[in-house]
C-alpha cells in the first residue's frame, strides 16, 4: 500500500470549478424549467444560468485543448481488443465482486487512471453530451440566427428539447458519478484523492 500523486493542482481546480458550474446550472436550470421561485428567483436564475453556461463552454474547450495538446488524452484512449473483456470484468465487479470483498479488478496508475467503464462514460459525457448541451445552450441565446422552423416544427422547441434531454442525462451522470466515487478502497478514497491529489491505499500496478 502506498500513495500516488494522481491529480495535479490544475486538474483538481478544473474539476471542482467544473463541478460548481455543473451544480449551479442544474439548480438554476431546474428553477427556470419548473418555475421554482423559492429555489432561485427567476430574474436571478436566468442571468446566472447564462453566465455559468458560457463559463462551462470555456472549461470544456480547456478540457479538449488539454486532451489534444496537454497529454491528458491518453486516459481517454480505448483499446478495442481489450475493451469487451475489461468492461465485463468491471461490470461483474460492481454487480458481484464488490459484495463479496473481491479485489478491485482495475489498478489505478499515473498512466492509466480510468477503468473501462469510466473511460466509456467520460468519453460519452465529454465528447457526446457536453458538445450537444453547449451547442443547444448557445442556440437558445442566438435563436434569431436560426430558421423559424425545422422539419415543420418550431426550431426553438427542437433546441429546447435537445437541451432538456442532454441536461437530464447529465443529471443522471452526476448521480452515478457521485455514487461510483464511493467504491474505491474506502468510500472516501477517491474523493480525498480529488481534493489532495494523492490517491491513498494505492496498490502498485506493477504487482499482479
Amino acid at each position: 500500500m502506498s500513495a500516488l500523486y494522481l491529480y495535479p493542482a490544475w486538474l483538481r481546480l478544473w474539476h471542482w470549478l467544473n463541478a460548481l458550474l455543473f451544480l449551479t446550472l442544474l439548480v438554476t436550470g431546474l428553477s427556470m424549467h419548473y418555475s421554482l421561485h423559492w429555489l432561485v428567483p427567476f430574474e436571478v436564475a436566468v442571468p446566472v444560468h447564462n453566465t455559468a453556461g458560457m463559463l462551462l463552454t470555456g472549461f470544456w474547450l480547456a478540457f479538449v485543448a488539454g486532451n489534444l495538446w496537454g497529454g491528458n488524452g491518453k486516459h481517454y484512449r480505448i483499446d478495442l481488443r481489450t475493451l469487451p473483456h475489461d468492461l465485463m470484468v468491471q461490470t461483474r465487479y460492481y454487480l458481484h465482486g464488490i459484495f463479496v470483498g473481491a479485489p478491485h479488478p482495475f489498478h489505478v496508475s499515473a498512466e492509466n487512471k480510468l477503468n473501462a467503464l469510466q473511460t466509456l462514460s467520460y468519453i460519452g459525457v465529454m465528447f457526446g453530451l457536453m458538445p450537444i448541451l453547449i451547442l443547444s445552450g448557445w442556440s437558445f441565446l442566438f435563436s434569431t440566427a436560426l430558421p423559424d422552423t425545422l422539419f415543420g416544427v418550431g426550431t426553438v422547441w427542437i433546441v429546447a428539447m435537445v437541451h432538456l434531454t442532454t441536461s437530464w442525462m447529465l443529471a443522471l451522470f452526476l448521480i452515478v458519478h457521485i455514487y461510483i466515487i464511493t467504491t474505491g478502497e474506502t468510500p472516501t478514497t477517491n474523493l480525498k484523492a480529488m481534493i489532495s491529489g494523492w490517491h491513498e491505499g494505492h496498490e502498485d500496478a506493477s504487482k499482479p
Binding site: M32, V46, I98, F142, S143, T144, T149, A160, A171, V176
Partner: protein
Amino acid sequence: MFLRPFLNQRSPIGSNPPMRLLLLLAGLVLAVPALSAASNTAPASGALGLFKDDSQTCMRCHWMETMAYRDRETREIVNLSIDTQAYRHSVHAELSCSDCHAHGYSHYPHRSSSADENLQCVGCHETHADAGAPGLIGLEQEYANSVHVVEGVEDFSCFACHNPHTFKPAGGREPIAEVVARTNGVCLDCHEELLTPVPQGHDWLPKPQAHWRSVRCLDCHTPVQGRVPEHPSHQILPAAESNQLCVDCHTRGSALLSQLYNYRAAQGLERQGFFAQALYNEAYIVGMSRNRLLDGISLSVLALTILGVAAHGYGRYRAYRKRETS
C-alpha cells in the same frame, strides 16, 4: 474622411497599386457601417419637420406648454401645445405641420371648423404610401372589429390611443421593459380601473404584475391567429374572447412561443451586443422547455437510478458488516 489616412500613406504598401486598391476597399468597408449607423439615428436637424418654414409659423405659438383652450360644449381643456422634444423623436419627425394639417390654418385665429378636419392614420398612410409611409394594410378592418369600435366607445379614433405627435413604434435600441411599459401605458391611460395590485378581471392570471412587466396587454388581447410580431393587430378583443390559455405562450407548439422568443431575443441582441446579450438574455419563457413525456421519463429514470445506487450502497454496507463480524 475615413479614407484619407489610407490614401495619404507613403509607405511601400500604400505605393503598391493593388495594395492601395485593397486598402481603399478596406476603408470603404469600414466607412459603410459608420455611414449607415449615422443614417439610423434621428434625422439631421435640417430634415426635421418642425424646422421647415411653414412649421416655424405654427410653432411660434404651439411650442408653448400652456397653449390650450376650454371646449365650450364639453367644458374640457383641449391641449394645443406640441412637445418639440417628443416630436423630434417620433416616427413622424420628418413631417412638417402642413403635411397633415393641410387646410384652413392660413387665418389667425383659426376657424373652429378647422379642428374637424377628420384626420385618419390609414387614409394618410394610403395617400402617402409612395413617400415611405407604411401601408397599414388590413389595419382598417382590424380596427373596425376591435372592441372599442364594436361596442361604440364614444369619440373613439386612432388618436384615442396614439398621439401622432409623439408616436414611435417598438423596436430599435429601446429595452424590452420600456417598450412593454410604454405600450401598456397607452391602454392604462384610459383603463385606470386596472391600476391595482390584482387588476380587475385578471385575478385568474398568476403573478399579474410580473406578466405586466414583460408582456404587452395586446399580446393577450388580440387574436392569436395570423400574428406578425412587428405589426401588432389592431383588433383589440373583448375580455371574454381574449387569450386565457397559459399554454399559448408557455409550451411547445404554441402560436406565440417562437414569435415571442425570437422577437425578444432579437430585441436583446440589437440592444446589447454579443456577450451581454448572452448574459442578460430576457427571452426565456417559463414552460418553453417543458415536455410532460420527456420530464416524466427522465424523472422516473433518475428516481430508479437513485433507488438503484441506494440499494447497491446498502448491499455493500451489509456485505461489509458481514465480513467484519465473521
